[in-house]
Symmetry: C2
Subunit: 226 residues, 2 copies
C-alpha cells in the first residue's frame, strides 16, 4: 500500500516539475526574475510587499497573489500601482492549500511578463505543502513571525529548508512574546545551515531597506536579462 | 477534467466520513468526548492546552498530538501528566498537512479510551485542509491569534465555518498589533453567524477560566456517558 502511494506522489511531483520547467523557460524568455514568497497565515507577507515594492529603484515589479479565495491582498497591493494578478485556488482547483506549477501556469497569460523585471508570487499561507511544489521560481523566501514561536523550524523543517532567504518578521513584538531569537536561529541552523536571514518589522521599518536591496539586486544576482 | 477531479475528491471525502463514523462509534462505546483543535501554526494551541488541562476538575483528559514530524508539543503536554499520544503525518502518511479520520484511527489502539472522558486532538497547524476532514469528533475549535490579523475569517472561511467555538488568542498583544477586534468579529459573523467566541491570553490568563469551563462542561453537553 505504502509503495503504491509513494509512486503516485512521485508521479504528481514529476508532473509538477515538468510544468515548472515550462514556466521557467517562459520567465527566462521574458527576462523576469521570479520569487516564491511563503509563510504561515498572518506572518506578514503582504504588508512586507507593500513596504518593499513601493520603491525598488528601476526594477519593474509585479505580483501574482495566491489565495484560497477572495482578493483582499491583491486589492491592497494594487493600491501601490504595482501590476497584481489574483490566483484563487478555490473555484478551479478544489480549494488547494498551496500553489503548484500548473496553477501558476494557468495565470501566466494574464501577466505582461515582458513589462516586468521581477515577479513575486505570494503563496497560500501554509507551512507544509507550498514547500513541496516548485513553480519555476529563481528564489524562495519564507517569512516567520516571532509571534509564531521559536520552535517552527523544528516543526516544519521542509519549509525552512526549501528557501534561500528566511525573514524573521514582526521583531517589534520581541518584548511582548515568548520568543528567544538565539534559540530560533539555532533551530534554523539545525535544519538549514548557512541560510540567509533577515530580521524585519513592517511596523517600525527595521530591516525593510535590506529586504528592498535583496529584491532589487535579485535580477542581477540570478543573471536575468534586465 | 474538472468533473473527474471533483468525483475523485468526493470519493476521498466519502471514505474519510466512513472511517470518521467508525471512530465516532469507538468514542461513543468508551464514553469519550472528542474535540478537534485547529489553527494556523503558532496560534497557541499547545500553550492553551497546557493552561487548561492542568485543572479540569474531575474530567479525565487526554491528548492526541498531530504534527508533520517531531514531538515537541507532546513532550510539553506530557509534563502535565496528561496521557499524550503522538501522531506524525510524516513517516507513514507522506507529510500530510492535516489529520484525517484514518490517521486518527491508526492511533486509537495506543490510547486507553476507557480511561478518558475527554480526548483533545491537536491538529496540524494549517487553516485550509484540516477543516475538510472530520475525524469523528464531537466539537471543533479553531484558534486565531490577533497577531495573524483581522482578515483571516474572510481569507479562510471554511475553517471559521467548520467549528463550534472560535478562540481569539494572544489578546495581550492587542495594543501592539494592527488588529481591530470589532472588524474581526464582523468578518467572523459574515462567514459564521452566531458562532461562539472566547477571547483568551495564555500569557495573562484572561479567558482561561472560561475555556476550562467550556472543556469541562463538554462531556455533559454532548451527553456522553461520563
Amino acid at each position: 500500500m505504502h509503495r503504491t502511494k509513494v509512486r503516485v506522489v512521485e508521479g504528481v511531483l514529476d508532473a509538477n516539475d515538468t510544468i515548472a520547467r515550462a514556466n521557467r523557460a517562459d520567465f527566462d524568455r521574458a527576462g523576469v526574475c521570479v520569487v516564491n514568497l511563503m509563510s504561515a497565515p498572518g506572518a506578514g507577507k503582504t504588508t512586507l510587499l507593500e513596504r518593499v515594492l513601493s520603491d525598488l529603484g528601476g526594477v519593474r515589479a509585479g505580483v501574482l497573489e495566491g489565495d484560497v479565495q477572495g482578493s483582499l491582498d491583491a486589492d491592497r497591493l494594487a493600491a501601490l500601482h504595482v501590476p497584481v494578478t489574483q490566483l484563487n485556488t478555490d473555484p478551479g482547483f478544489g480549494g488547494e492549500c498551496h500553489l503548484d506549477a500548473n496553477m501558476v501556469r494557468s495565470a501566466l497569460d494574464q501577466i505582461a511578463l515582458d513589462a516586468l523585471d521581477l515577479l513575486v508570487v505570494e503563496n497560500v499561507g501554509n507551512l507544509v505543502c507550498p514547500a513541496e511544489f516548485r513553480i519555476g521560481e529563481d528564489a524562495r523566501i519564507m517569512v516567520s513571525s516571532v509571534a509564531e514561536g521559536e520552535d517552527k523550524p523544528l516543526k516544519y523543517p521542509l519549509m525552512f529548508r526549501a528557501c534561500e532567504l528566511v525573514i524573521v518578521n514582526k521583531i517589534d513584538l520581541l518584548g511582548h512574546v515568548d520568543f528567544d531569537m538565539d534559540r530560533f536561529l539555532h533551530h534554523l541552523d539545525a535544519v538549514h545551515p548557512g541560510v540567509s536571514v533577515l530580521l524585519t518589522s513592517a511596523r517600525t521599518g527595521e530591516g525593510i531597506g535590506e529586504l528592498r536591496a535583496w529584491f532589487a539586486g535579485l535580477p542581477q544576482r540570478v543573471g536575468a536579462a534586465v
